[in-house]
Symmetry: C2
């Protein structure tokens, strides 16, 4: 039975939203709704217009026999600025400061709506790069990796500091923790990353960058390529960071351990992505 336009638009929207960065041939929709390709093209033009107006994402058209449409999620400039501002305020709340200059983030990183926004924001930065996998270190980076992986529609891999038999054979590297100056070990399941993969590193919190640096060594061990480094928050670190080229959504700029307060501001995300966000907002 032929499906009405209104019903097609609703189902198409859902179908595309669930499959970011995936090429869907027009013939697929044409069969699914028993409708002419010309009608499907008109539908997609409406979806494209609405997604653009609401800054939901870009509906890319790939012409030709092997063509189709591809939904690329984005976060627009205004929404990005608002979200980062709101997160900086949340981080500045009292009671978040923990011993050692760490910040309590488990509530934020356990809230689906916050994770969705973080994922969309980080994915926007890498939308035109070849990311084959998102990498993070257990435990707190996992929710961020999972959310980014959803929006880029690629798998994520979890590096561990403790050996677990349920990973099978692993590849391990030693790394120096910049905060404690100790040598530690991290490992990744051997079969989880193919040689040549483009890897995006994400983490919840970066101080000296030792952990991120360890993941970089691990990527080299797998003959994979580093695409970028994105962290939710960067801490206040007195000393040389082991990592210089990274993106942070939030920066903790003042920590008062006596009063037990901290002050957080926007990280370097907006500066690094201003040109792209303005281009996308057109």
């Amino acid at each position: 039975m032929k499906v009405r336009r209104s019903d097609r638009l609703i189902d198409m929207t859902r179908y595309l939203l669930e499959r970011p960065h995936t090429l869907v041939p027009l013939t697929f929709f044409s069969k699914r709704y028993e409708s002419a390709k010309s009608s499907i093209s008109e539908d997609l033009a409406i979806v494209r217009r609405t997604f653009a107006q609401r800054q939901t994402g870009i509906l890319e058209t790939v012409p030709g026999a092997a063509g189709g449409v591809r939904y690329i999620p984005i976060m627009g400039k205004a929404e990005a600025t608002d979200f980062i501002g709101a997160m900086a305020n949340r981080l500045s709340e009292t009671d978040r400061l923990l011993p050692g200059g760490y910040v309590y983030l488990s509530d934020l990183l356990g809230t689906p709506d916050v994770l969705r926004q973080i994922g969309r924001l980080i994915a926007t930065q890498y939308l035109d790069q070849k990311v084959d996998a998102v990498m993070t270190v257990a435990t707190k980076g996992i929710p961020i990796a999972q959310s980014v992986s959803q929006f880029l529609n690629v798998p994520f891999v979890i590096v561990r500091r403790d050996s677990k038999i349920t990973e099978g054979s692993t590849v391990s590297v030693n790394y120096v923790s910049a905060s404690s100056a100790r040598i530690e070990k991290m490992e990744l399941s051997k079969r989880s990353l193919a040689a040549g993969s483009g890897v995006l590193i994400v983490d919840d919190f970066m101080k000296g960058g030792g952990t991120v640096n360890g993941m970089r060594s691990l990527i080299a061990e797998f003959d994979a390529k580093l695409v970028g480094i994105s962290v939710f928050a960067e801490g206040n670190f007195s000393g040389d960071r082991m990592v210089s080229d990274y993106t942070s959504l939030i920066r903790v700029d003042e920590v008062d351990t006596k009063a037990n307060t901290l002050h957080a501001v926007a990280g370097n995300y907006m500066d690094k992505n201003m040109a792209k966000l303005e281009e996308l907002s057109k």
Copy 2:
């Protein structure tokens, strides 16, 4: 500017899909699209019909001044059967068996599409129960907890076996690992769970049920209430399980450590939820 119906339907679909289990007042849409409430009601009737036909979910209407609509994601019976069958086949692939009867799952539990289906499936079982938080134990349960939490739109909390300073004060319990008969310790950040919360326990793999049992003690320590226990896969366990009332999507029924193969079948999910799935498919 008044927004056209086609554009409204697309944006409304996205808006609702991103906010499961959330009551959205009609006046919100009416303002957002500068359209009459009567038009919005007609739109929502179309969305409801399409969501029902495609088994995307239920669009619930709450009448009255404080009313609105609420989107409840579901997975229909046919899709659930197919997904569980496909997962059982994936688990039966060679090379998944690890020492000790464990199963390599990191690839599946790092794939966004698989996680989305697991989340929808588990959330369907609890759609009419009062779940305030999803609980899991680090590390491998996290992706499942996060996906379920998205579809139920509630926070998730992560229990840890290793103490980390970035959690702040914690509450800990001892538990007996059924597989190794050793006493272990697990802990949860004190501020992560409010007294009286309804808690859904999820995990990737259950053998003797010791870990799940530990989480149950932890829920009692927080004066919270256990709503249910759902695991992705249950292993082959010779002995008394510490947990009897649980739901599993997959069951590993045969393990041949000499040939290094295993055979997986559907768990008890379909049996436990048949009545509900048939009701939802109407």
